[in-house]
Amino acid sequence: MRNRILVVVSLVAALSLVLPACTAPTPEAIKETVEVVQEVEVTRVVAGTPVVEVVTATPEPAPEGGLGPRGDNTLIVGMAQEPDRLCGAFLQISAAAEVVEGPLMRRMIERDSEGNWTPVLVEEIPTVENGLWKINDDGSMEITWNFKEGLKWSDGEEITANDVVFTYNLSKDENVPFPYLTEEKKATTLTAPDPYTLVATYDEYDPFAWWGLFHIVAEHNIRPIYEEYKEKGGNYGEAFVNDERVSQFCVQNGPFVVAERVPGDHIILEPNPNFNLGPPPQLDRIIFKTIPDVTTLAANVAALAVDATTETGLDFNSAMAIKNTEALEDKVEVLMGGKAGLEHLVMSLGWETLADKQVRKAIMHAIDRQGIVDSLFDGALTVAQSWLPPEHYGYYAGYDQYDYNPSRAMELLEEAGWTPGPDGVRVNDKGERLSLIVMTTTGNTVREQIEEILQAQLAEVGIELIIENYPARIMFSEYVPNNLPHGFNYWGYWFYATMILAEFDCGPGKWYGYCSEDMHEVLTDLRNATDQETRKRFFIEAQKIMGEDVPIIPLYYSTRIATIRKGFSGWELVPYRTGGLGWNAEYWHWTE
């Protein structure tokens, strides 16, 4: 008997000693990297003007002991959200993808640091002036893209217009669950009369079509895999997009390639030996570590276990805690970059109470937006007076007429027929209470705090605000857009100019009930404008209308937050830059 117990205990003890030694297997990785010294033509934008320069790429020799805090010339980046797929054309969701996608893929055109579009794979941006963008009398268009010659995919094959045509045709296969077809499907036809010329035709006028067809795959890489699955038949589309050669390890054209991915743990990028869209990258490796809990991520920064965090990493409070930690002052820098998004309340205008503009204006006066920014963010953020950021060429402060004025709010409510009830909550002549619901996604502590502040501020003017939050998967399917609460949806979005057309014009985008003839007219003119000056005029007009109609309540401009170890160069938050933090990955390097 004793022997049996001893055997069992020994087995268990042995197992507990052996198992820790098991480590994650290393998938087959692209390990070969070649040092390349070359001259490269690079287009930069200086003060809004594209400037072409030739860069000789000869990395500086590394100092003795190696570069970086570990001497391995590697950057370790912590992120709270993990990208789903690593091949841009097939990724579905995840803001996290942007920072990883930046080092992996360059698009036809991209935004520079000032927010101006600049050509990357093509010679120039199509415009009416240069003749590459033709608009016919009936509104149909033809856009021609001239590709640069000699640009390479990571396996050395040339990037051509045929790759775009292949991607377009692939997206037409209904069996393939392509999540984003918006840009591709707008084009009526897409052809490549020669390898370096792409011609897109459109049946209808679209002022943003020249933004480019974003998602490109390498035809020589993806076609054989696609045809292999198509031959098998059945539900081949799902199997095809979930083949890791397609979803994770596809051929791309950025300065880095995916060397290893362990889902849920890390992604390792190594230099692309055939990168010729810029100078060769200077880092030997970039490691993206997935750390889903924000507090743990902050601890990793404090413990110097990660060198950097991305925009989908720390929240404002954690970032400020890091910033205010004396021990980290000379080690870690906290970056806050521009007015990258708008935190706002969308009102259910289809509901009678909020359909009354007077009530909406009263609510604007009842909310102390500056007070919220001062108390929660130490005044570090800016109150939003429009849905556009102040840096936008078309910005107009349509909402600055709404100062914090509870007396004015109460006056407006009285005029609208809402008088104080016995419990302090206002009622109308039908005896209905002025009771609103505010709804946002659970888990966002800043928004939850702001909801409580709003509740207190609105209570002062006799409005009851009930807080009802749900997980995103429930809110966006059960309530938005088909079952809006009687009140507000509280959320934010990164600036996206065409969103104005979707959200504020009459039509399918007006899911929360806003439809104004004046706004429709202005947005139609905006849509048809062919030059920036004209567009600016209509942007301003639209913001004046918004300031009068108050269809949303802009609260403040959110900011992108990131951290970086001191002694690293190139980790820059540029709000409008395509590719997020990863926009200039080839220039990243340790300086000590």
């Binding site: 198992l19 995840s94 743990d265 990793n300 413990a303």
Partner: protein
Amino acid sequence: MAKFLLRSVLQLCPTIIVVSMITFAVLHFAPGDPLASMILSNPEATLEDVERLRAAYGLDQPVYVQYVKWFARVLQGDLGYSRTFGLPVAKLMGQRIINTLKLTITAYTLSIVLGIPIGIYSALRQYKWSDYVITTAAFIGISMPAFWSGILMILLFAVKLRWLPPGGISDTGLQTSFLGGLKYLIMPALVLGWIDTTVWVRYTRSAMLEELRQDYMRTARAKGLKETVVILRHALRNALVPVVTLLGIRLPFLFSGAVVTETIFSWPGAGRLMYEAILNNDFAVAMATVLVFTALVIMGNLASDLCYGIVDPRVRRD
């Protein structure tokens, strides 16, 4: 014994099937659309896009049809694809299951190795100050949530003292040695195993106290046996019987506790995978992980039954 084992394995199959049906139904009827977050990431997505994707993923069919198709694929060894990661579920889960087993077995072993001896000691020192210290510590330990104690440990051992890494499973991108892997395992295993340690302390203490009061203990001492022999060979042997039955019952708590611990310590395990899959409506992954955990729990209970037979000859099965 062989018959018992065969019977237990055969009982596993219908249990798994019933659990799969219930889980599938709950996942599909719970609020939340699996395509909602995907669609809402693109504000210009149209109804046409939604319907196209729904058809591509087979989500437009009745739930029972989806279940039958899923089950048929599983029988052929195809667990489907993760919509979140764009990878086959089997590939995704393989290493994650191993990681979770590594963590839970280590935590479980630690809790038993620590909890039972401490429980015995506490029972032998009943009403002495050491007993009070131990029972108070056990009470505090059982009350501490893992997410709180985990963060505290990270702040102390990783941030302040820099003795241990703040999370993860290995030196990323490098070949991790045995000791290197161990340093990543210490904190999560302690946090996960701590509650079970306090459970074993309390149960062992109670069971030992019960046995120490029995008449046969007086007889054993009267026979002139050494106290160590009396305690370990007589009292402990009988006290272990109720404790061993708890081995299997505690397993589900361990796996569910792994979800929180794995998230706090960024441990890429199946618990965290299951949690994220449910949040993201990644049905294929959620189904597969739930079923794997079900199977593990059933097998754990089976192991517990076998241990029971080892400890108590009266219930040994032939």
